[in-house]
């Protein structure tokens, strides 16, 4: 049973623990934006990425889950003189400088100390020494196709999802806003784009199925069935049965299928959760009523779950890393941009408020 959850917010890191009832027990880095948290299940260490507005991104690690110390941060290489690197649509320069560490993931069980970091403006970094040093995935960054990525969630493109295949840790898939889904079979040495079947409603019709034009908001794979991958996309929900290479759109009825977050059941790949907002230009709950969508049949149907969630004048938006399901498969947590955090002990049927007064929540994570 889940015992603790980490909550990364715009103004600090918090931890809540189940002590009879869920309670916030400790805070760190108050006043500092937290962009990513990784409780590493392999050795118990906790990593946190900070985004100091003035002083850049920093990474800290707590080996005991309590006392954080600063470790190395991914660094972009010197930009070659004369190289043109601009957003293909906006024509604005892509900085060769870390803007934000957007997601942080552990390597495989057979790769102790390995970490993966997805960043804005689009670099993927690997550490093989628990964050003492970082190496850029060079073929991806220097490749011509990377320069076709465009800003989505932020002005510059970024990697927000990293899936490490538990059957073979050298196999990775990453989600790019905006740039589709990229796959590696060699621990990041090379990558290939594959996002067939994803549809971009925001593109001209003839480019709607361009794989590189896709804006996956978040991608997660079922740990027990890694070929089964779920994606909350900019304009819908998609599901893959071949490790994210081809996708089919979920068209089941729902209040909305727009949103950012998705979580998948750790053992049953037919079950996944989403948190809808009205649409891309109306990023608030439908009719001011917060709900969670759950499918238990592989996307044939979506059920809106509302018990315990506010059903009038609620304007909570749940960001892409702010929904998580514990390994116990029944405890869920989600946090919103208006500082609400809820937990569910029954797979999302009912929710309890942990707080309505936290800073805007960027990420929640059990561990």
């Amino acid at each position: 049973m889940a015992e603790r959850v980490w909550i990364g917010t715009k103004k600090g890191l918090f931890r809540a623990e189940r002590k009879g009832r869920w309670t916030i027990t400790r805070s760190w880095f108050l006043g500092v934006p937290v962009s990513a948290v990784l409780p590493d299940p392999r050795d118990g260490a906790v990593y946190v990425a900070l985004n100091h507005g003035h002083f850049g991104t920093k990474v800290h690690r707590a080996d005991d889950g309590e006392r954080f110390a600063e470790i190395a941060v991914p660094t972009y290489p010197k930009k070659p003189e004369g190289l043109e690197d601009v957003d293909p649509y906006r024509k604005t320069p892509v900085p060769w400088s870390l803007v934000q560490l957007w997601c942080l993931e552990a390597g495989g069980r057979d790769q102790p100390g390995w970490l993966w970091a997805g960043t804005i403006p689009g670099g993927l970094f690997c550490s093989k020494d628990r964050g003492a040093s970082w190496q850029l995935a060079e073929s991806l960054w220097y490749g011509d196709d990377r320069r076709r990525w465009v800003g989505g969630g932020y002005d510059n493109p970024g990697i927000h999802s990293i899936v490490v295949d538990p059957r073979d840790s050298r196999r990775l898939s990453i989600g790019v806003s905006c740039g589709g889904v990229w796959h590696s079979r060699d621990a990041g040495a090379t990558f290939a784009l594959a996002a067939k079947g994803m549809r971009a409603a925001y593109m001209p019709e003839e480019h709607a199925f361009d794989e590189i034009a896709q804006d996956p908001h978040r991608i997660v794979a079922c740990p027990a069935a890694p070929d089964r991958v779920w994606c909350q996309h900019h304009n819908g929900i998609f599901h893959s049965r071949d490790a994210g290479r081809t996708w089919s759109e979920v068209t089941a009825d729902a209040p909305s299928r727009f949103g950012f977050a998705v979580a998948v059941h750790p053992r049953n790949p037919d079950t996944a959760w989403f948190v809808p907002a009205t649409k891309d230009e109306m990023r608030i709950p439908v009719d001011g009523k917060v709900c969670v969508l759950r499918t238990t049949d592989g996307g044939k149907t979506l059920t809106a779950l509302r018990r315990g969630l506010p059903q009038e004048h609620a304007y909570d938006l749940v960001y892409r890393h702010a929904l998580d399901v514990d390994a116990d498969a029944t405890t869920l947590a989600m946090g919103s941009t208006t500082g609400s955090v809820w937990l569910s002990d029954d797979g999302g049927d009912g929710w309890q408020h942990l707080s309505a007064h936290l800073p805007p929540v960027h990420t929640v994570r059990f561990g």
């Binding site: 003035h54 002083f55 850049g56 972009y76 900085p95």
Partner: protein, 89 residues
């Protein structure tokens, strides 16, 4: 000698007391501070070695002419202030 002072908002994150250094340019002065406190570099300069967008470096109260190259001579300057720009919410 030039004295480098860091905003207390930076001192909160990385220990960087005032330091007096002998240097010909702004860049040399900052390098000496970084040698003293290696962690400081990433808080003041970005990945390309330029002064971070929201950090301000003042030489005797005047802004840097070139935030990228830092070759500006110090002349007889006595004070360098490393401050934060007003931004954010």
């Amino acid at each position: 000698m030039v004295r480098i002072t860091f905003t207390e908002n930076l001192v909160r994150h990385v220990a960087c007391p005032e330091i007096e250094v002998e240097a010909g340019t702004v860049g040399e002065a900052l390098e000496q501070a970084f040698r003293h406190v290696p962690a400081l570099r990433g808080y003041v300069l970005d990945d390309q070695g330029e002064v971070r967008k929201h950090v301000i470096v003042l030489i005797d109260g005047q802004g840097l002419a070139d935030r990228a190259r830092l070759g500006q001579p110090l002349g007889g300057a006595r004070r360098i202030h490393v401050l934060q720009a007003l931004s954010g919410g």
